[in-house]
Symmetry: C2
C-alpha cells in the first residue's frame, strides 16, 4: 500500500488509473482489455447489485438467464442493431483444441469448425427476443418483465478499468408489452429507478434526459439516460433505458393475440447499468488521498484501529471494543477491527483513507483512561473526541451525514458546472476553460451535432426531461431552435 | 400448463426432460447445448446462491471476478489440465464482423484475426494463478480465499438441461496457502460445506468421498466429492473440491517468502458447484405430478387459492386473507395469493403441484363460514382442515416438517440402495436389476476400473471418507484390497 498517488490537479486521468489499482478495486489482466475485479472492488459491486436487484423486484421484475453466445444470423436480424455492434464482436469459430501433429504444442483443431459462428453477447436483445417468440401467444402472456445479471463483451480498442473494458459485468432488463404506452412507461420507470439509485445510494447527482438520434442505442426508438458529471468536468453516462418500439418483435416475428382477437406485434424495452458505475463512483467523490465511498455502498463502514504498546494494552483495548463491535453489527453496520500487529497505526490510517472507509475510530491509552474514542470522518477528514456512551449514536449520525454531505458536494459542483451559452465562441471558451455541461441551442440535425463533435469533441449528452421550451438559434448554424440541450465532453 | 407428464416408471429420462420444461425451470435455446434458465428456475438458483454465498463468507472467503477469456498459452501451461479440457473448448479467433463485399450479409472480418486465440473459460485455474503470481510475495499475503460466481463453457456433444450443458453457471473457489496441511484442510472444509448445503438446504443426502485417480479433476492431486443418488438408481456428482498441490504454482511460477525467509511454492485448492445442482434437486424429490421442492429453496413456499363465485365472494376472501399474508411475510415466509380470475381453482391446484409449491391453502365459502382453511402439503399430498387461529403455526410446522420429510425419504431410498457385493456376477446382477451404489472391493488399479466401466458402464463414484479398513479381494481380478469403494452408473 503506497500513498504516492498522483494529484487530481496534476493529471486527473493518471490519478484515476492509479487509484483504482492502489485501492484494490481492479487491475488489468493478462487478457487484453479484460479486467480482474479484486475482492474490495467486487464487494462494492455486490452492494450495488443488491440495491438495484431489490428495486427491480419491487417493481415486478424477475431474474432469468440467457445464453452467452448469439448465432451470427440472430445478430443480423435487426439491421441497425448489427451495424452498431459488428465492429466490436468476439467471435467463436471453433469448439476444440488438439495437440499439433509435429508436437509443437496445442493448436485449434481445424476439424472442429462451427457451421455458424457464435458471437459472445455484446447485449442480449436478439437471443432474448428469439426466446420471447416461444413464450408469447396471447395478451395474457404479457407483460414479460425480466432482468439478467451477466457478463458481456465489446471488443473496445482503447480500454480503461471500469470505464471501458472488453468484458464487463452488467444487468440488462428486457421487457415485452401489449401497448406502446406501457412500454414507454416502463422505459421511463427504469430511468427513474436508475436516477434514484445513483443519487440515493451512490450519492451521484444525475440529469435525466433523452438521447439524440445519433447517440441512441442501436435498435432503439428512444433512449432515456442518466448523465453524471465527474470532477474534471467531463460527463459520464451512468445508465440507459431504451424504448425499442416494435423493432425486435418485427425482426423476430413476435406477435400476440389481443383481447379483441387481433394479431399484433409486441412492444419492447431494454435497460442496463454496468460496472462502469464503479468508475463514476470513484471519479465523483474521491480525492488526492484516495477513495471516498458513500456509506451505503462501503464494504467497511467503520474501521477501528487500536493504538497500543505491548500485548496487555492490546488485550485491554480489544476487550473494550468487543461489545461496541457487537452492537454496531447488530444494527447492520459493517465494522472492521484491525488488530494486525504487523502494521503500525499510521500505516493503517493511510490504508483506510486510500480505501475510502467512511468512519475511522482510533483508541489509545489516553482514550482508555478517559473513556473516549477519536473519530475521523473520511469525507471532510475532520477528527473529534467522542465519549464512549455517545459513540454508537455518533456513528449512526455520521453514516447518514457523510452520505448526504458527499451528495451535496457533488451536486454543488454539478450545479456550478452547467453553463448557458449563446454562441459558438462562448461554447468553445467554456468547454476549454471551465468544462462541465453546456446548455445551448441546437438546430436538431445530426449534421450539426457531428460537426460540433468533430470540432470540439463535445457531444450532446441529453435533452433533459424537464427541459423548458425556449426559442433560440443554433450556436453553430443560427437556425431556429425550440429548446436548449446539454453538451459536454464525456467518458 | 399441461399435466401430461410422462410417469417416472415409464421413462425416467423423459419424465425429467418434460418436467424441467413444463415446470418452467429451463428450456433449450436456439444455441446448441445452451439453455435458457427461466424465472422460476432462476429463482431457485438464486436461493441456492444466497445460502452458499453466506456459508462461503462465514468461512472467510471473498468474491471477485476474473476474465471470461483465457489465452491458449495459459491453458497449455499445466499439462494434465489442458489435456482434460482441450477437447471441449469454445475458441474465439476473431474480434470483428463486417458486411460482405458482395452484399450477401454479415461475415467474420478476416482482417480481425487475434494473434493468440482465446478460450472461453471452462474453469479458471490458469487465469487466476497467473493473477495470483502478482498478488503473492510473502507469507503475509497468504492465505488468499476467493470465490467467483460465473458462467463457464465446456463444449459437450450430448447435452441435457441442467445436467450437462455447453454453458452453465457455477461458483469456483480458488485458494492459495502457505502449507500443504492448510490447503488440504481447506479442500476438506469446502467438501463439508457442500455436504451441509446439499443435506440441509436441498434435502439431498450425499456421500462424502475421494475420487480415484482416473476420476480426478484435471490438474488435481486429490479430488473430494459429494455423491447423491437419484430415484432411478443412478448417482450424481453434486460438488467437488480439489487439493491441487503445487501444480498451478509450478506452472505459473507462484512463490512466496516464508517466515524463515525461504522461497517456496504456493499450495492451492479449487472447488465448485454448478446449475447441475438444479438437476439433482429435481430428480431427488419430484414425482409423477411434478416438482417437489424443499421449503428452504422454494421461490413460493405457500400459495393461497380462493374458491369463489362472483366478485363479492372474492372480495370477502381477499379481505380475510390480507392480514394472514402480511403476518406470514413478516415472518419471512414467501406467500403468493393467486386471485387471477382467468383460471379455475382446479387448474391452479395442478399448476402449483407441477411447480412444487410446498404448501397450498384453499379457502371457499364454507371455510369462510367456519373460519377454516384447507391445507395441502405437496410432499405427501395430504389435506386437512385447519382453524384460522392455528394456521400460522401450522404453516411454520409444515415448512420444517416437509423439509425434514423429503430428506428422510431420500435418505431411506439411498440407504436401501447401497448394496455390498462379493463378486463380479453379483455386481452385474445388482447393477442391472436394483441400481444404486454398489460397495465392492477393487484392486486399486486404473486398468481394473476401466475394464469394469467398459463392461458395465459403472464407475467408481468415490472412496467414502468414513470407509472402514476391510481385507477383501477385487471383484474383477481377485487381487487383494484393503477397503470397499462405491460403484454406480452416474449422470
Ligand atoms: Zn433506494
Ligand atoms: Zn445451512
Amino acid at each position: 500500500m503506497s500513498k504516492n498517488l498522483t494529484k487530481r490537479s496534476e493529471d486527473y486521468s493518471k490519478w484515476y488509473n492509479e487509484l483504482v489499482v492502489k485501492a484494490d478495486l481492479a487491475e488489468n489482466s493478462g487478457v487484453r482489455g479484460c479486467m480482474v475485479i479484486k475482492p474490495y472492488g467486487y464487494a462494492i459491486w455486490e452492494k450495488m447489485q443488491a440495491a438495484l436487484d431489490t428495486m427491480f423486484k419491487e417493481t415486478g421484475h424477475e431474474n432469468a438467464y440467457f445464453p452467452l453466445f448469439i448465432p451470427k444470423s440472430y445478430l443480423s436480424k435487426e439491421a441497425s442493431h448489427v451495424e452498431g455492434f459488428a465492429k466490436e464482436c468476439a467471435v467463436v469459430t471453433h469448439y476444440r483444441l488438439k495437440m499439433a501433429e509435429d508436437g509443437s504444442g496445442i493448436i485449434v483443431d481445424p476439424d472442429a469448425k462451427l457451421e455458424e459462428e457464435l458471437i459472445v453477447r455484446p447485449t442480449s436483445e436478439t437471443i432474448i427476443w428469439d426466446t420471447y417468440r416461444k413464450w408469447i401467444q396471447s395478451y395474457r402472456d404479457l407483460p414479460i418483465l425480466i432482468n439478467q445479471w451477466a457478463n458481456v463483451v465489446r471488443w473496445e480498442m482503447r480500454t480503461r478499468l471500469f470505464l471501458r473494458t472488453a468484458e464487463f459485468l452488467w444487468q440488462e432488463g428486457h421487457t415485452a408489452h401489449a401497448t406502446k404506452n406501457e412500454a414507454v412507461a416502463e422505459a421511463e420507470q427504469m430511468m427513474n429507478i436508475y436516477a434514484e439509485f445513483a443519487e440515493n445510494h451512490m450519492a451521484v447527482p444525475v440529469i435525466k434526459g433523452l438521447k439524440t438520434e445519433t447517440e441512441r442505442f442501436a435498435g432503439a426508438i428512444e433512449t432515456y439516460c442518466i448523465e453524471a458529471l465527474m470532477q474534471d468536468g467531463k460527463a459520464l453516462q451512468a445508465g440507459t433505458s431504451h424504448f425499442l418500439g416494435q423493432n425486435f418483435a418485427k425482426a423476430f416475428d413476435v406477435k400476440f393475440t389481443s383481447k379483441e382477437g387481433k394479431q399484433e406485434l409486441v412492444w419492447a424495452t431494454s435497460w442496463g447499468v454496468s460496472t462502469r458505475l464503479m468508475g463514476a463512483l470513484v471519479m465523483t467523490h474521491s480525492d488526492d488521498k484516495g477513495l471516498v465511498l458513500p456509506p451505503k455502498l462501503a464494504p467497511i463502514q467503520v474501521v477501528i484501529v487500536p493504538i497500543y504498546k505491548g500485548d496487555d494494552q492490546l488485550d485491554a483495548i480489544s476487550e473494550r471494543i468487543a461489545p461496541l463491535v457487537k452492537e454496531l453489527r447488530a444494527k447492520g453496520v459493517s465494522v472492521k477491527y484491525d488488530n494486525r500487529d504487523t502494521y503500525k497505526p499510521g500505516f493503517k490510517f493511510a490504508e483506510y483513507e486510500l480505501k475510502g472507509v467512511p468512519i475511522r475510530l482510533a483508541i489509545g491509552q489516553r482514550d482508555m483512561d478517559n473513556g473516549t474514542f477519536e473519530v475521523a470522518r473520511r469525507d471532510t477528514l475532520e477528527k473529534e473526541t467522542v465519549q464512549a456512551d455517545e459513540i454508537v449514536a455518533k456513528i449512526e449520525f455520521l453514516l447518514e451525514d457523510i452520505q448526504k454531505n458527499i451528495f451535496k458536494k457533488a451536486l454543488d459542483y454539478r450545479e456550478n458546472h452547467i453553463t448557458e451559452v449563446e454562441n459558438y465562441d462562448e461554447f468553445k471558451e467554456i468547454l476549454e476553460n471551465k468544462g462541465g455541461f453546456i446548455s445551448a441551442h441546437w438546430d436538431g440535425t445530426p449534421e450539426t451535432e457531428e460537426r460540433i463533435k468533430n470540432e470540439t469533441k463535445a457531444t450532446i449528452r441529453c435533452i433533459p426531461i424537464d427541459v423548458k421550451p425556449e426559442n433560440g438559434v443554433c450556436i453553430l448554424t443560427g437556425k431556429p431552435s425550440k429548446n436548449r440541450v446539454l453538451f459536454a465532453k464525456a467518458y
